[in-house]
Amino acid sequence: MAPRSKPKPGEPSSSDAAAPLLPERCIDHKNKNIRKEKWRELRLQKNKEKREARKKRQKVREELGKDAPPVLQPHTIETLRIPDVTTVQPDDLETQQADRLDEFGGYFGREAAPRVLLTAGDFPSPKTRDFMKELALVIPNTEVRLRNFSSVKKTARVAAAKGYTDLIFINEDKSKKVMANGLLHVHLPDGPSALYRLSNVKLSAEMRRIKEFTHHRPEVVLNNFTTMLGHRVGRMLASLFHFDPEFKGRRVMTLHNQRDYIFFRHHRYEFKNEKKCALRELGPRFTLKLRSLQKGTFDSKTGEYEWIRKRHEMEDSRRKFHL
């Protein structure tokens, strides 16, 4: 009964015929002490082989110098990521055309400047109110309004009529005493609605940097949105900020996607010289995880979804990501 492994009969195989990723847990002995010893010996042997292999590689690299083979990269979940069929190719004509024609075509064609309306639930807690105030400083041309007991659908309709381009609802679950845990972004007039789980919110007031905010329009950096869904979400988030940044302000918003989590950071940068750049993080910072992307404005009962996170169907592999 080998611990934590499939029991395999026989001695540890010396040949590499077995699958290389599986460790050789072929030590199967009923006596625990003997088993332990055998396993220890095997581990020592493997580590020795590893060290020797590394020394060899270093030698080869020293000898060859420039012509040496590249350094082996360690395996991470990102490097082992299952390649996605829907990854956007930069020269794909159809995707470019679809981008021109979709809901953000107006924004990226520089026709309509964004105008954002920000609101929360009916009686937002003080922390959520502070978060909203900061978001309003961070996203240019944003208005914060009280909910006034109106429904999402009605708000979307009225806001679209009044000329807003985006609507953001911050959701909080008071029973859990956590500040804000949801963010619904509705692009108007008939654009997609993205529902995110909001977590890890840190306000700049806590970082005591709020006095360092300026009102210059920021630059936006979108990292690692590779798949078609990621591409769409990236464009949706980018359409919140004005398309003409004021570089004088040296403000940058980063939306970094890693393993389907979108990290929002706000920095001010200063180039010391050509190679070095100093960053000062201003707040706030938060993390988003996409739960669903709905075609059209918010309509959870009778609407159509472009993408819904179905945990058990989609997340059967730890190396598969959707954004």
Binding site: V85, E94, A98, L101, K301
Partner: protein
């Protein structure tokens, strides 16, 4: 392009028509459009076969244009801008050679060339918009329509004043509230007297139009808050495949009144479902830009094809099969049954019988078609995905019979045969 080249056709939101050749091992896709000239108004909203041999594909666009794509020639042969009501074309059918269109504002029109012969029906006497129009397999003049707050209605084009069948809503629920109605898709079952509808309020309803009962015979609730968007009859008469806006594909048994099977693989809302009438294949097309091919008997996902644009409509050929034996059977059948099609040149000139067919069922006297020749738009000849700018070449028109010359030949032939 050989006739059996593509066996599935898909219409996308960007207006691109895609032909897919699905074989057991691999899948090949080709676009039939100039990718630099796409417009939002050209979104393909509905598709149907233009003829019984499945040579032509009719496309209904958002701008109320109807286009005809010829699969044998591999080009768009016709494009017509229609104006009836407002909104996109949500239903297409063919009746005696003439096209029937249904638009979102509720107007269903049979487009005969002679304006006096055109039949127009306003299906949206109540409700907000029309969502679907389907044609009965038994009688091509019978249409079913349904929409948002507009329950199922069956129309006969011969008597367009009143619907032949108007469904009644189910009884109010236990809180005595009226049950809302949003018909998103309709299908006629095999015997054409039973009609199934699916609603955005997660119900599938079955009506028996010949029984005299206007209320649904069966009402099946599929899931909870699952906005059902599309429906298709399957090769088994008592089962129906339903797709929802949340990405669920469920096989619903109307006899038992519950879901029998849920198919996996869809991440976005299902836009259209098309099941093969005899074999157990089901093609579904969704907003997550994938075409899925399932086998309903083995419950397996056979193919998942990424098609880059959000997809709206799907059509499958009658001879679609991943089994080579079925393909052979189909070829034998087709060879035996196939009548000589009207637009291939040399064959038509030789056979007398086909001339007569052309005369009787041509919806328009020959002189008018000659006039129409000049108005036809140039064809967009597209091959594969890499296409240079489509330049309007001289259209290769189908050879129309010249009646005056043919009559002389006829007499000669009759003389010869007699002699």
């Amino acid at each position: 392009m050989p006739r059996h080249c593509h066996n599935v056709y898909v219409g996308a939101e960007t207006g691109v028509l895609k032909g897919i050749n699905v074989t057991e091992g691999e899948v090949q896709t080709s676009n039939f459009h100039n990718l630099t000239a796409l417009e939002r108004e050209n979104e393909i909203c509905s598709m149907c076969w233009g003829d019984d041999e499945q040579r032509q594909v009719l496309l209904g666009l958002r701008s109320q244009q109807v286009k005809v794509y010829d699969t044998v020639q591999g080009t768009f042969t016709m494009s017509r801008q229609l104006s009836s009501g407002s909104g996109p074309v949500i239903g297409l059918a063919k009746h005696q050679g003439a096209v029937i269109t249904a638009v979102e504002s509720g107007i269903v029109t049979l487009w005969r060339y002679a304006e006096s012969e055109r039949v127009s029906v306003n299906a949206l006497t109540t409700g907000e918009k029309l969502c679907r129009m389907r044609q009965s397999p038994a009688d091509s003049a019978v249409l079913a329509t349904g929409g948002q707050e507009n329950d199922l209605q069956l129309w006969d084009l011969a008597r367009p004043e009143h619907p032949v069948f108007r469904a009644k809503n189910v009884r109010p629920d236990m809180l005595d509230l009226r049950v809302p109605v949003w018909v998103s898709d309709i299908t006629f079952l095999e015997d054409a007297r039973r009609v199934a509808t699916c609603h955005r309020h997660s119900v599938v309803r079955l009506y028996d139009t010949a029984s005299g009962q206007r209320r649904p015979v069966m009402s099946v609730t599929v899931g909870e808050d699952e906005p059902l968007t599309c429906l298709s009859r399957t090769h088994r008469d008592h089962q129906v495949l339903v797709g929802s806006g949340r990405g669920r594909l469920e096989l619903c048994d109307i006899r038992m009144g519950r879901t029998v099977l849920a198919l996996k693989g869809v991440a976005g809302g299902v836009r259209e479902v098309y099941c093969h009438p005899e074999r157990s294949y089901a093609a579904s097309v969704s907003l997550d830009r994938f075409l899925l091919l399932h086998d309903l008997d083995t419950k397996k996902l056979l193919h998942k094809v990424y098609l880059k644009s959000r997809l709206n409509c799907v059509l499958m050929r009658r001879n679609f099969s991943l089994n080579p034996e079925d393909a052979e059977e189909d070829e034998v059948e087709d060879a035996a049954v196939q009548p000589a099609p009207a637009s291939t040149g040399p064959e038509l000139e030789d056979e007398e019988d086909d001339l007569q067919i052309v005369e009787e069922f041509l919806d328009v006297p020959p002189e008018e078609t000659k006039k129409k020749k000049k108005r036809k738009l140039p064809k967009l000849k597209i091959s594969g995905e890499d296409v240079a700018d489509a330049s309007p070449k001289k259209p290769k028109l189908p050879k129309l019979v010249d009646m005056s010359k043919k009559k002389k030949k006829k007499k000669v032939k009759a003389g010869e045969s007699k002699g």
